[in-house]
């Protein structure tokens, strides 16, 4: 699964820790999702979409992570 988490986070000037706090997860979770080592569950994907104010499909796309 590809995702635009790192780009969206950088656009807002948030650190991984900032995003982790907003999502109520650990920083290592954010890092694992960003680097494509972990695909979040649907509930967490919805939380991520809500935090960035974008639909899920604008953040996640099918395919192998880069």
């Amino acid at each position: 699964m590809n995702n635009r988490l790192r780009v969206l986070r950088a656009e807002r000037g948030w650190s991984q820790q900032d995003l982790a706090a907003r999502l109520e997860v650990s920083r290592q979770s954010v890092n694992a999702i960003e680097t494509g080592k972990y695909d979040p569950s649907l509930p967490l994907a919805f939380r991520i979409a809500r935090v960035f104010g974008q639909p899920i499909e604008a953040i996640f796309a099918e395919g192998e992570a880069d």
Partner: protein
């Protein structure tokens, strides 16, 4: 996560672990001292001898509760992987050793040592998580 960096699940895990480790140590010392020197026999000896093993069961329950209570799904997944790897490792060692022992090629090992092997397997699981997912989890 709290300001200390420990999740509520981990803080509860550590508190429960402290209780079971204390019970284990105290009951083991008491059992070794009292049963081996025949200060207690019969039913009381049975009861006392059961306590260290039950404390280890409490350790397993503590890990299970950590998995149930952990709210961070990624960290929870890491812990599940870690315990599965440990379980696979311990069962593998027990299987191979059991047959070697059956044919008198190695000496007898008390069954409770499998818990030590399983704990070593947790370290292997930790390492595997780091290599495959780039994270240690909460390092139980």
């Amino acid at each position: 996560m709290t300001r200390s960096g420990k999740s509520p699940a981990r803080r509860r895990y550590l508190a429960r672990l402290a209780i079971f480790v204390t019970v284990y140590m105290a009951s083991l010392v008491a059992a070794v001292t009292l049963i081996r020197q025949h200060h207690v026999t019969g039913a009381p000896a049975w009861a006392l001898a059961l306590v260290p093993g039950l404390a280890v069961v409490g350790y397993f329950w503590t890990i299970g509760m950590y998995i149930v209570e952990q709210r961070d799904e990624f960290v929870r997944m890491l812990m599940v992987r870690q315990t599965l790897i440990a379980t696979g490792f311990a069962l593998s060692v027990a299987s191979v050793w059991g047959f070697l022992e059956q044919f008198a090629l190695v000496g007898h090992v008390e069954a409770y040592w499998i818990v030590v092997v399983w704990s070593f397997g947790l370290l292997l699981g930790l390492l595997s998580n780091r290599l495959t997912h780039g994270a240690w989890g909460e390092c139980l």
